[in-house]
């Protein structure tokens, strides 16, 4: 057998790459508010959560259910929400997605998108509700552009995560 083929046969993907790529992508998604974008209204989709949901949909069981807690802490510190809001919301969303995963095994693409859309709406509206409870009242209508943008960018994020999954499992 020729040498170039031998290098690729009977190999496992690098364990470091397998573990680190999903974590790194979620953290990178959470860090998008650090981009030099000064917005006067909430417009940027919650990319950290979207990447997390994508991994959860593509690879159920990649992480334990409690993984929303550490990712949520990071997102809160970077993103400007009061610390604890993403911890709470992401945990609830992940528990819900895991329960759905057990109950509805055979799902199609549109159902996955629907689950993600509902999760995004819950996360954004929940974040707003927490802010309103802590400070004062903002109308939900402020969030509509962000919600629509997030729901329609989700398929792109899912595609990107699927591509990264190939990179992750490359031998």
């Amino acid at each position: 057998m020729k040498a170039p083929y031998r290098a690729r046969l009977n190999r496992e993907a690098s364990p470091l790459r397998r573990a680190s790529i999903p974590i790194a992508t979620v953290l990178a998604g959470s860090m998008t508010p650090l981009l030099p974008l000064v917005a006067s209204a909430p417009v940027l989709p919650p990319f950290g959560l979207m990447v997390l949901i994508s991994w959860q949909i593509l690879r159920p069981g990649l992480w334990p259910v409690w993984v929303g807690v550490p990712f949520g802490v990071f997102d809160d510190i970077v993103g400007g929400q009061p610390v604890g809001s993403a911890v709470l919301l992401w945990s609830i969303i992940l528990i819900a997605i895991n329960l759905i995963d057990q109950r509805y095994i055979w799902r199609n693409y549109w159902q996955d998108w629907f689950i993600a859309a509902v999760s995004i709406i819950v996360a954004l509206a929940g974040g707003l509700a927490i802010n309103n409870f802590l400070v004062s009242d903002i109308h939900l209508s402020v969030l509509y552009p962000q919600m629509i943008l997030a729901i329609f960018t989700f398929p792109l994020v899912l595609r990107l995560v699927a591509r990264l999954d190939h990179v992750r499992l490359k031998r």
Partner: protein
């Protein structure tokens, strides 16, 4: 989609327990989130150290990216300016003629204003600039409106100093790190600024709406005096914000005031200036029965700026 591999982990008690523990930890985590929120509620500055540390670490690349963005924008502006050079030149020249007359008027008014202030014994303390900075990023995905600037306590920035751009007020400093600070933008709902109408001084206050606009709320409830296009400036009441900084232009009327568009759009400003906190100071009017303390009626205060001299019958800041 194929069913997940670990949906039911056989009869292994250990694997089953692991899944159960995962759910238990997730629920505990959600509860811990609630506790953290309670902590943020009772002590809003609880996590400011961690936040400013993150900002410090991420500031250098953000600053670099901001530099690239700004230079690209200004380069494009310069290129596009060539296309309308002729007509723009003629228009600008007409404007210069008009403005020259207005400037002479304004100079006279300023002189008169100074005289009147001296008569009143009111010393106007201009907010001296502390530092010039760039807005490097903002909480673009949250419903709160914060921005980060690339100067901090090492450059002399302190809490609750006003931040303004050339066109108008931007916000105030909320937390400072060594080289970065967090700014509460005007459009945040927590940011309330006392304002007045530039034309005649109708007093109101502005409160952010979270979407880049502000609610202008009247203090006197009565007939709504606002008209679309009125410019609101800070009144300087209550300190922090110096007077006469442009804030917003009225866009739409509501039942109890108006909705204003911010004049200094944070997205469109290159540089912002951090100013010293404004502390209105009043000179006590000289009592007539006592011999005059000094001959200058409007001498600057000898006392420390943090302790305003209490004036008799004068409104307290």
């Amino acid at each position: 989609m194929a069913p997940p591999r670990n949906r039911r982990p056989g009869f292994s008690r250990k694997a089953q327990l692991q899944i159960f523990t995962g759910y238990l930890l997730a629920f505990t985590g959600a509860f811990a989130g609630l506790l953290l929120l309670a902590l943020s509620y009772f002590d809003p500055a609880a996590f400011s150290a961690v936040r400013s540390m993150t900002a410090e670490v991420t500031a250098p690349p953000a600053r670099l990216l901001t530099g690239i963005r700004v230079s690209t924008q200004s380069g494009w502006r310069e290129v596009s300016a060539y296309f309308e050079a002729g007509s723009k030149n003629a228009k600008l020249q007409r404007e210069v003629e008009r403005n020259r007359v207005r400037m002479i008027e304004a100079r006279a008014l300023r002189q008169e204003n100074r005289e009147l202030r001296r008569l009143l014994g009111l010393i106007k303390q201009e907010g001296r600039p502390v530092a010039t900075a760039r807005l490097i990023n903002s909480s673009a995905s949250s419903s709160r409106r914060y921005a980060t600037i690339d100067v901090g306590s090492r450059q002399g920035v302190q809490r609750s100093q006003p931040v303004r751009a050339q066109r108008g007020l931007v916000g105030r400093v909320l937390e400072t790190g060594p080289n970065t600070s967090r700014v509460l933008l005007l459009s945040d709902t927590e940011n309330v600024v006392p304002v007045r109408r530039a034309r005649d001084g109708v007093v109101a206050f502005s409160q952010g709406r979270g979407d880049g606009r502000v609610d202008i709320k009247l203090i006197d409830i009565g007939v709504n005096p606002f008209k679309v296009g009125d410019v609101m400036v800070t009144s300087g009441n209550g300190g922090i914000y110096p007077p006469n900084v442009p804030v917003a232009i009225i866009e739409r009327l509501t039942s109890d005031g108006a909705i204003g568009k911010l004049l200094a759009n944070p997205a469109g400003t290159d540089f912002v200036i951090v100013q010293e906190m404004y502390e209105p100071e009043l000179v006590a009017p000289e009592p007539s029965e006592l011999p005059p303390v000094s001959s200058m009626p409007a001498a600057p205060l000898p006392a420390a700026p943090s302790q305003p001299v209490p004036a008799i019958g004068a409104p307290q800041p």
